[in-house]
């Protein structure tokens, strides 16, 4: 028993490194899926890594209007992403830092990161980036309650407030889980600035949300921003996979991690498919989409409390 627990925590540490190493690959998979849908060959799976390595070797240019906030934001963002990665369980392996109530910590670590991105965007003094910041804040203010209601549902089902215990305690198939997963998927797309909310490819000013906030970054800072975004994709994805993929308690830890990784790949494929078949919705419709996700989550909560 002792050795098993040690093995589990060893896997938690391994998950951290796996997350560090494989998070950009997920972005590569999404891009490749979109390329295949569009009939192109697409960039190599490892393109995000090449981009980041290239960016890390370059020098950064800072505008004279910016202050230390602008320089601090990418580092804070990366730290937040790492902290979030440490909380999320993967497969049967619990999160490295799991404690009672860590779901609130999880949500606000992501919130802190967003806060820094936003004030850094305001710090540049560009009206354009301010507009993006305003949109980001508006949408995340609506996405966050959905995330919380979804997590509250899972907490009600399992009677636990720690992400690792919640996910380990779930047993499938439950109707609530399907609803929560759908709601969380919408949050996932919104938080990662994916297509129904924001087009990661666009450089057309009026439509951009996330991209516009990081326009002034260059070199290693931009690399950090991109890498933290990839980690965020991984972290939120791991949460959804943890909730939706049923895993047997008795399964060896490495096997469960393998399943979870397969789940992540499927999620990346699904994201690519959604991006290929859907158009970005109008900005005015975004709150409606998030409200629909909220409706699903609240439904699930009502179900779970019956």
């Amino acid at each position: 028993m002792e050795t098993e627990i040690i093995a589990m925590y060893a896997f938690s540490i391994i998950h951290m490194f796996v997350g560090f190493a494989l998070a950009p690959l997920m972005i590569g998979i999404v891009n490749r899926t979109k390329a295949v849908f569009a009939g192109r060959t697409g960039q190599p799976f490892l393109q995000p890594y090449y981009d980041m390595v290239k960016l890390l070797r370059k020098g950064a240019v800072y505008s004279r209007t910016t202050s230390w906030i602008f320089r601090a934001a990418p580092v804070v963002g990366l730290a937040c992403a790492v902290a979030a990665l440490a909380i999320v369980p993967f497969g049967n392996a619990p999160g490295l830092l799991s404690f009672e109530g860590d779901l609130v910590f999880f949500a606000y670590v992501l919130g802190l990161w967003r806060f820094f991105l936003v004030i850094a965007a305001l710090d540049t003094g560009s009206a354009f980036e301010g507009m993006g910041a305003s949109r980001e804040v508006q949408f995340s203010a609506m996405a966050e309650p959905v995330l919380f209601v979804g997590l509250a549902t899972v907490a009600t089902l399992t009677g636990s407030l720690s992400l690792s215990d919640m996910i380990a305690g779930l047993s499938l198939p439950l109707a609530e889980i399907v609803l929560v997963a759908a709601a969380l998927f919408v949050v996932f797309l919104c938080e990662n600035a994916r297509i129904p909310f924001d087009d990661p490819n666009t450089h057309l000013e009026l439509t951009m949300i996330h991209e516009v906030m990081v326009l002034d970054y260059s070199g290693p800072d931009l690399g950090f921003v991109l890498y933290s975004a990839a980690l965020k994709f991984w972290v939120l994805g791991a949460l959804i996979i943890g909730i939706t993929v049923p895993l047997d308690e008795g399964l060896p830890v490495w096997a469960s991690c393998g399943y979870a990784f397969l789940g992540m790949v499927m999620l990346a494929l699904l994201t690519g498919i959604v991006e290929s078949v859907m158009a970005r919705v109008r900005l005015l419709r975004v709150p409606q989409l998030l409200a629909a996700a909220g409706a699903l989550a609240i439904c699930a909560l009502i179900f779970s409390m019956r």
Partner: protein
């Protein structure tokens, strides 16, 4: 079977909520059609152990009418009237979604008060039936286009059908067929009425009909 019933009931609830938030009339019609199919499936699943031909026949007729005949009639009406979407409903779509959640809560609370003996895996059917009725009534009250109100009528009928299926159990075949026939007749008549409203006023907004009163 319980799992299938439960899944269909959940999907039914989701179609209800979708109806609250959809503005495109084509989508509304499709959702109502999906709802008809789900109802038929629930009826079939609920009686899967006791193989009664009568129920299978009635469920199949219901599916055919609700999934093919109604959408056909309504889509034809849309083409004639040339409307695509419900533009300014009395209650906006965001508020409608909020209302849907409140109604969902109310229907759960309400069904808990009803003294009904239900089998395993069917605890959600009564709330779903009440919710579906609420959805239909809401569409009738809160939407402006005659077509959406007609869909509301169909949805309301769906809810009553589901409620009757669970609460009463043995409804004579003649009665069920009679109800279906009534629904078909009603939808046909509403289609004709909408055609005339459209020809007379160039739109199918029902709120202006009240100006006809002398």
């Amino acid at each position: 079977m319980e799992t299938y019933i439960e899944a269909s009931v959940i999907l039914l609830l989701l179609t209800d909520i979708a109806l609250f938030g959809t503005s495109r009339l084509y989508t509304c019609i499709t959702i109502a059609a999906v709802q008809g199919v789900l109802l038929g499936l629930i009826a079939l699943f609920a009686n899967a152990e006791t193989f009664i031909p009568r129920i299978i026949v009635i469920a199949s007729i219901g599916i055919v009418i609700k999934a093919f005949v109604f959408p056909y009639l309504l889509k034809r009406t849309i083409r004639q009237a040339g409307v695509q979407r419900e533009i300014q409903p009395f209650i906006g779509y965001l508020s409608s979604l909020v209302v849907s959640l409140v109604l969902f809560g109310v229907s759960i609370w309400f069904s808990a008060k009803l003294p009904l003996a239900l089998g395993a895996g069917r605890s959600m059917i009564i709330p779903a039936a009440i919710m579906t009725m609420f959805t239909g009534l809401f569409l009738i009250v809160a939407r402006r286009k005659a077509l959406t109100q007609c869909i509301g009528y169909i949805v309301c009928e769906n809810g009553m059908y589901l409620f009757g299926m669970v609460a009463v159990g043995e409804i004579p075949a003649l009665v069920e067929l009679g109800i279906l026939l009534d629904a078909v007749a009603a939808v046909t008549v509403m289609g004709v009425a909408m055609y005339h409203i459209n020809r007379e006023f160039d739109h199918i907004d029902t709120d202006r009909l009240s100006s006809l009163k002398g």
